[in-house]
């Protein structure tokens, strides 16, 4: 996925000289996850550069660059460090088009590695996507595989509104199916890892049905797509797995059609449960598919604790937690 993201940046920087990449360690070094590797050498220090360590300053400066007419792609090194920048995101980036009646716009793509399972402890593991979904005026996009990562990142960069582009870092090097105790898989021969070298887009706001099925609908995004997939397979359930890809705007039509078909819905995310994005999904499905529901919509999520270092696999919504919910849902 790292290569795909790097390629998206590379392709767009070559196509559009308004695209600039900035962030802590993204320039000379190429990013702590190497997503921006080589870009400074290729495009120069005006196009890809290191910044002072201030997330609020990074976003604020990027907003100014966008007002000038550039299309900045700031990186926030870890999602856990985006909080100092929230004011610039919420009060500024998300509001500029509206409050100026489109006199000014803010085409930012804020790249944010997120999620746990890397023994990163409380401050290198968080999944704060739900916070962004509550902020109108920004879009929240989360790929689960290299193909989508590239296509969505390009679409985000071309979008004229600010996009929070969250990268599931546990999947940077391979699809993670939740079995942390088995050998890690690489993307090598995964079907979604065969990524076109050139320019292509995956439009924002369109979910993808990863696996069709009639028994129940699973809504997931990022890493949890792979974990859920594995569990469906293991349990031999004919589940329909939907990779949301965009949380806002959401592809409600695909979700609705699926739940109306299956009558059952499971929502999975790694973020803490209370007011996680699963709550919004549950509310929407309930509102729109109420008379089709044969069983309660379930949420399988991370716990409402900080992400603990040594017990991270107890926190993580892995195969057991998902499997139990699946079985419960199918029993009802």
């Amino acid at each position: 996925m790292i290569q795909a993201l790097n390629s998206a940046l590379d392709v767009m920087m070559a196509r559009d000289d308004r695209v600039v990449v900035l962030g802590e360690d993204v320039g000379y070094f190429g990013g702590v996850f190497r997503v921006t590797a080589g870009l400074q050498t290729k495009f120069g220090k005006q196009r890809c550069f290191d910044t002072p360590i201030t997330e609020c300053g990074i976003i604020g400066a990027a907003i100014g660059m966008a007002a000038y007419g550039l299309r900045p792609v700031p990186e926030i090194q870890f999602a856990d460090y985006i909080y100092p920048g929230l004011d610039q995101i919420i009060s500024e980036a998300a509001r500029i088009r509206y409050r100026s009646a489109a006199d000014f716009i803010c085409p930012l793509t804020i790249r944010v590695p997120f999620g746990g399972g890397i023994f990163g402890g409380q401050t290198h593991s968080q999944s704060p996507e739900s916070l962004f979904t509550h902020v109108t005026g920004i879009k929240t996009v989360i790929p689960s595989n290299p193909h989508d990562a590239k296509g969505l990142l390009i679409a985000a960069m071309e979008d004229n509104d600010p996009v929070i582009f969250m990268e599931p870092k546990r999947c940077y090097n391979g699809p993670f199916d939740g079995y942390y105790d088995r050998p890690a898989k690489s993307w090598a021969d995964h079907p979604d890892a065969d990524v076109d070298e050139g320019y292509f887009r995956v439009p924002l706001g369109q979910a993808r049905i990863v696996r069709e099925g009639g028994d129940l609908t699973i809504l997931a995004y990022g890493t949890m797509v792979h974990v859920a997939h594995k569990v469906i397979d293991e349990h031999g359930i004919d589940g329909e797995l939907i990779d949301l890809r965009s949380l806002v705007p959401l592809d409600i039509a695909t979700i609705e059609a699926s739940v109306r078909k299956t009558g059952r819905c499971l929502i999975v995310h790694e973020a803490t449960r209370t007011s996680g994005f699963g709550a919004e999904l549950s509310a929407l499905v309930q509102e729109r598919c109420f008379y089709h529901l044969e069983a309660p919509i379930e949420r399988v999520t991370g716990f409402d604790t900080p992400y603990p270092h040594s017990l991270e696999w107890s926190y993580f919504p892995g195969p057991i937690r998902i499997g139990e919910a699946l079985d419960r849902l199918m029993r009802e």
């Binding site: 069709e212 099925g213 009639g214 028994d215 004919d238 009558g263 109420f290 008379y291 529901l293």
Partner: protein
């Protein structure tokens, strides 16, 4: 896409529309909702009441 369509389990209630409370009652009474004729577009408590009555053998008059 070239995967064979997954086998569907036999689930009689699949396309019947009903509120969860109605479904719950039907399940407790051992009634297959798809057998219940509905007046509106979904099965209501009233539909269920009528169905139960219609199913019951005519009660012996109480003296």
């Amino acid at each position: 896409a070239d995967r064979p369509p997954a086998a569907r389990r036999d689930r009689p209630n699949r396309q019947v529309l009903a509120a969860p409370a109605v479904r719950h009652r039907a399940r407790q009474l051992g009634i297959d909702l798809s057998a219940v004729p509905a007046v509106g577009e979904r099965v209501s408590h009233e539909d269920l009441d009528r169905f139960i009555l219609s199913r019951q053998p005519a009660a012996a008059p109480v003296e």
